[in-house]
Subunit: 310 residues, 2 copies
């Protein structure tokens, strides 16, 4: 029986520009690791938080990973407990799904330590409890791809259905994370509560075109549909230089470029041969606005969160 | 050189419940026919309208088929003309894309009479000119499937992109057309101009799930996504008994049931083995509300509008 495992969970790009609150995809190049030990005492505790840690709370109920494992622990009425070490690889408040990754890595690790591990879909609701600590509401658009891998659609909250959508294999995700903090709550608070019917139709057409393009490997359709007419126009002013970063990415050959999750990270999709140029253009545009940035080029194919050491 | 051709154009279900103004699919079981003769005089004229004709105008500029061919005739600056006979098979104001079918059949017939026929995508804009006569605005969600066949997504108006989406081959469309008239203008006029962000997210999830389900032959995903939370709740009261018809269809095994186009025709998707029961339930529910109805069970695969006699 396993008593000590480490799980890795990848960063995720939520919304993917055209799928607000429903789409997300993994970024294999960066992620969080959570090590869990099974302990006799029936409690959940956090021993240490390392890596790009910021000032994350170590009190389990206030920590996304701690809260997620607590939810699982309570639901299963376990008579043993877990002690965890969290190693943050995803910058806080970056829009790369860091809170989801910690929560998912923790429940995947905990699941491996159960006498009878649960099916992956059942882990979703525990990880969501962790996400509530971070964002104030239950969202699965980071958690579902983080858990399942690749590009995923999640439909529904109470009984979420998860659908994995194929990404054309010639594509890469390019990310530029400017060194600034942007809170998810703040980025949600500025959104209007209503949408015009004409924007709704336009957004629907783009969403449908994007998904059709992914299924049919139709890069032209993906490019022409890769345009968020609802959220990006309301949010981009929170990110200095966003429009220049986007223009730079598109000029360098990206299929599309928008805000990752609630920002400030900006992501682009590009064919492999353009990815380096797109990265250079995005980083340069942020620099011109006085912002240094971390950057990654990553595949989007992934097995999702997984035990990496047992 | 051809001088006398007849084209058939199928009926269409626009919106398909979850794709307002962007999705539509063909119904092969019913359609309009337009016969065109090339004439020396450089004009477009309508000789006769037969079939389920109602009181359609024979003045070309006020007739959808006439206006569509006029638009084509003007754009190509032809030095000869066309005389047409229109045979209506699609009831007027039924929500089955009758005006689109007449316009599409007419331009497909006219195209066959050109010295150098145009690619099909170029016919779209001429047929749209006809649709404007009927509905007061340019919509392509009936025209695109009618012209191309099957389930189609149309993105954009000025330079529309058309994408054909596969429909699982085990599915049939069941239609019940109650004997009442409902104008497209009226059915559009009652729609609110704004949508809440939460409904937008819900509708997006359903649209994305539906399209993913079609591509991946995932009937469960289609069933769970087949729920129009935006338009149907605003429109269904225009159709007496709609809720009972929908409940009847779903109880009989339909995957989904909603309003065809602007109504009053109600359509359902069902696996072949349930189609007869779904039809019976829908017709009985309308009858219980004092409405006789025409009904069809139809495949959705189609080559779209085509010359049937030359």
């Amino acid at each position: 029986m396993l008593t000590d495992v480490t799980a890795f969970a990848p960063a995720t790009v939520a919304n993917v520009g055209i799928g607000f609150d429903i789409l997300g995809h993994t970024v294999e190049a960066v992620g969080d690791r959570v090590r869990l030990r099974r302990i006799d005492e029936p409690v959940v505790r956090i021993r240490a938080i390392t890596g790009i840690a910021g000032d994350l709370p170590v009190e389990p109920a206030r920590n996304t990973a701690g809260r997620a494992v607590q939810a699982m622990h309570a639901a299963l009425a376990l008579d043993y407990g877990f002690e965890m070490d969290i190693e943050k690889g995803i910058p806080l408040g970056s829009g790369l799904g860091g809170s989801a990754a910690s929560a998912v890595a923790a429940v995947v690790a905990a699941n491996a330590l159960l006498d009878e591990p649960l099916p992956r879909l059942q882990l979703l609701k525990f990880a969501m409890q962790g996400e509530i600590v971070a964002s104030g509401s239950a969202h699965v658009d980071n958690i579902a791809p983080c858990l399942f891998g690749g590009l995923t659609l999640t439909v529904g909250i109470d009984h979420p259905r998860v659908k994995q959508i194929p990404v054309p294999p010639s594509l890469r995700c390019v990310l530029a994370h400017p060194h600034m903090y942007l809170g998810t709550r703040e980025a949600r608070a500025i959104l209007k509560t209503d949408i015009s019917r004409s924007d709704f139709v336009w957004a629907s057409a783009n969403l449908a075109g994007f998904i059709s393009g992914c299924y049919s490997n139709d890069l032209d359709m993906i490019r022409e549909s890769f345009n968020d007419v609802i959220i990006e126009p309301q949010r981009h002013s929170l990110i200095p230089g966003f429009k220049d970063v986007q223009r730079g990415a598109m000029s360098a050959g990206a299929l599309g470029c928008s805000i990752s999750g609630a920002g400030p990270t900006v992501f682009a999709w590009a064919e492999t041969q353009y990815a380096e140029a797109v990265r250079g253009a995005m980083v340069a545009a942020f620099a011109a606005h006085g912002l240094q940035s971390d950057d990654w080029i990553s595949g989007m194919e992934s097995y999702g969160a997984r035990v990496v050491k047992a």
